[in-house]
Amino acid sequence: MSLAVETRDLAKHYTMGQSVVRALDGVTIALEAGEFVGLLGTSGSGKSTLLNLVAGLDHPTSGSLKVFDQDLAQMSRQDLAAHRRTNVGMIFQSFNLIPTMTAVENVALPMMFAGVARAEREARARALLEQVGLGERQAHRPKELSGGEQQRVSIARALANDPQILLADEPTGNLDSRTAQEILARLQDLNTRTLRTILLVTHDASLASRFVRRTITLLDGKVVPETPS
């Protein structure tokens, strides 16, 4: 199988005052296309930093980071925006929906940036909301939706431009355990049905182990040797 994500000696250092924080320090991993991988680690281990780099939200300090053989480290800001628009879909712990927009408008927004015509993007947004079981809640604003519903809107939005990779940053962090399981089951279903590559960042190893195929654990910016799930 081809590699969806491949990193080699990937490093990301931040300067804080006089000291240098090594958020990622020589990370080498590979995600095959269609894999559902859990990225585990304690707070400050560097998992969100790695996810942000794969998402193209940040540039690495050194090393290589390839997504479908394209080196993100060499990309301009404009190219990274195009990468975020077409290759990846992001799901956040705090949902990150735009509060002034309805569910359908939030889902249609990535397609607006991709230049999709209004009628087409609205039809697709409605279909995606139907898929996540929110057909009746399309005209509601985020504050009118429960946490689980907001996260389902977020998943629908991540799928808007039909990306091959889904990046989920602690998607169950703000949800109760039952809703958390429901969201992870939905991601697992997406992985199984559509063969999308999913990288799930979580600190809950026991919950993740029930849904992901394998896990990668980070500790102090370095990869802890992989264990089969």
Partner: protein
């Protein structure tokens, strides 16, 4: 991202912050109203001054003369009869090659941009009324001069009703010489006007060349109006005189032009030749072109259109100055736009982060904020013009009430032509684009990770 979508997003963002948008747009509106008010005042002043000058008929008038070329001089010697004959021959040859005759009048009238052509008729006359008798000058006045120059306001009576009546206008000064106490009482009275006319061939004395035989003719003219010579640059052209009669009437009277030796000699010609002709351009702006074409035809031509140009330049400077003063308020308003947009970015930092995380590029974010600023400018521009117009009307009504109480005729103190409206909206857009560009750039350069962490 499509422009229509950018506009849609910007509009919905502005709707979400109605009060702030309205207050910022109001700031721009006051700025534009101030600018429009100042410039429209300048435009109205220009219209008052230049309009009066244009209506005076001075700036669209060109005085045309024949351009004589060096003629042959008669030789000395011989008897008196021979000398007279030679002088007549010499005068005929010295007559300009391009004569200012009826054919020339037709050619001048055919020039593009010419409204009217008429010869200047100016004759010495003797005016009698009761015991009063005096020699003075009379001129022919075309009916088109009605309401122009000195004829804009009649001291007594009115302008000629037509060109066929034996009617005349008197200058107020001459009317006072006839009846100092009540010059207006002359209106409706008949004057006797004596003038020199060329005798018909049958009446011509033996041995005198045709046209040299002059006879006195008298005619009655009814005074229909009295006009006053006004000070300033609009004296009413060459047509103002003690006695003014309709030009058509003056031409049919067969008046002999005795204003100088050349004029007398010109009468020897078989055709009617004029010493000067007035050409009226359709618009004052055409005067220069028409004048040039007349000169190209070989005539002498003179106008004072250059004075109009210098007046216009002075008003452009005045408009610029007023515009600059008006722009101060707009500058303050533009700072309001900057403030609003910066505040908006602070409030929407997380939203910007979200937009970037889901695929929005720097350009998309920049465009959204620029369009928002432009819409505020557009809104402010439109309301500013309406506000400027409304305030102008109120001041106009108040000022005219005061002016009329002081016996001064009403005037339009504020004029908003279409170019000022378009310019004001364009300027409001430009100012808001400039004011919005810095915040928009800031928004575009936001680090998405930092923005997503923003509360």
């Amino acid at each position: 991202m499509r422009l229509a979508d950018t506009l849609h997003l910007a509009l919905r963002n502005l709707r979400e912050a109605k009060l702030r948008t309205a207050l910022t747009a109001l700031g721009v509106a006051i700025g534009i109203a101030s600018l429009v008010g100042m410039v429209s005042f300048g435009v109205a002043m220009q219209d008052q001054v230049l309009g009066n000058l244009l209506r005076s008929g001075v700036f669209d008038s060109i005085t045309v003369t024949a351009a004589p070329r060096a003629g042959q001089r008669g030789r000395r010697g011989g008897n008196a009869a021979e000398r007279v004959r030679e002088a007549v021959d010499a005068a005929r040859q010295a007559t300009p090659r391009i004569r200012l005759n009826d054919e020339a009048l037709r050619r001048l009238a055919a020039i593009d941009g010419v409204k009217e052509v008429y010869p200047d008729v100016r004759v010495p006359v003797e005016v009698s009324f009761g015991d009063f008798s005096d020699f003075t000058g009379a001129t022919g006045v075309p009916l088109s001069a009605r309401g122009q120059g000195v004829f804009q306001r009649m001291s007594f009576g009115q302008f000629f009703a037509n060109g066929a009546d034996d009617a005349c206008l008197l200058s107020l000064e001459f009317a006072r010489r006839i009846n100092d106490g009540a010059p207006g009482s002359l209106v409706g009275k008949e004057l006797t006007v004596g003038y020199a006319s060329a005798a018909t061939p049958g009446d011509s004395a033996a041995g005198v060349p045709p046209g040299m035989n002059i006879q006195r003719t008298e005619r009655k003219f009814r005074v229909v109006g009295i006009v006053e010579r006004q000070a300033g640059p609009s004296p009413g052209g060459a047509m103002f005189a003690a006695v003014m009669i309709p030009l058509a009437k003056a031409r049919e009277m067969g008046v002999a032009d005795l204003t100088g030796p050349q004029a007398i000699l010109r009468q020897l010609s078989d055709e009617r030749i004029y010493s000067t002709v007035t050409v009226k351009a359709r618009r004052a702006q055409d005067t220069e072109n028409v004048e040039k074409k007349i000169k190209d035809m070989g005539f002498g031509a003179f106008s004072i259109a250059d004075l109009l140009e210098s007046q216009k330049k002075a008003f452009i400077l005045l408009d610029l100055l007023l515009g600059l003063v008006g722009s101060i308020a707009l500058t303050v308003a533009s700072l309001g736009i900057v403030n609003t947009m910066v505040m908006s970015i602070l409030e929407r930092t997380r939203e910007i982060g979200i937009m970037k995380a889901i695929g929005g590029g720097d350009q998309d974010v920049r465009k959204i904020f620029l369009v928002e600023a432009s819409l505020i400018g557009l809104l402010g521009g439109v309301f500013g013009i309406a506000l400027g117009w409304a305030v102008g009307r109120v001041i106009n009504v108040g000022a005219n009430y005061y002016l009329q109480n002081q016996g001064v005729p009403a005037a339009n103190l504020f004029l908003i032509p279409w170019w000022l409206m378009a310019g004001a909206i364009g300027f409001a857009l430009l100012v808001s684009l400039i004011a919005g560009s810095f915040p928009a750039m800031r928004a575009a350069r936001l680090d998405p990770i930092q923005a997503l962490r923003h509360d």
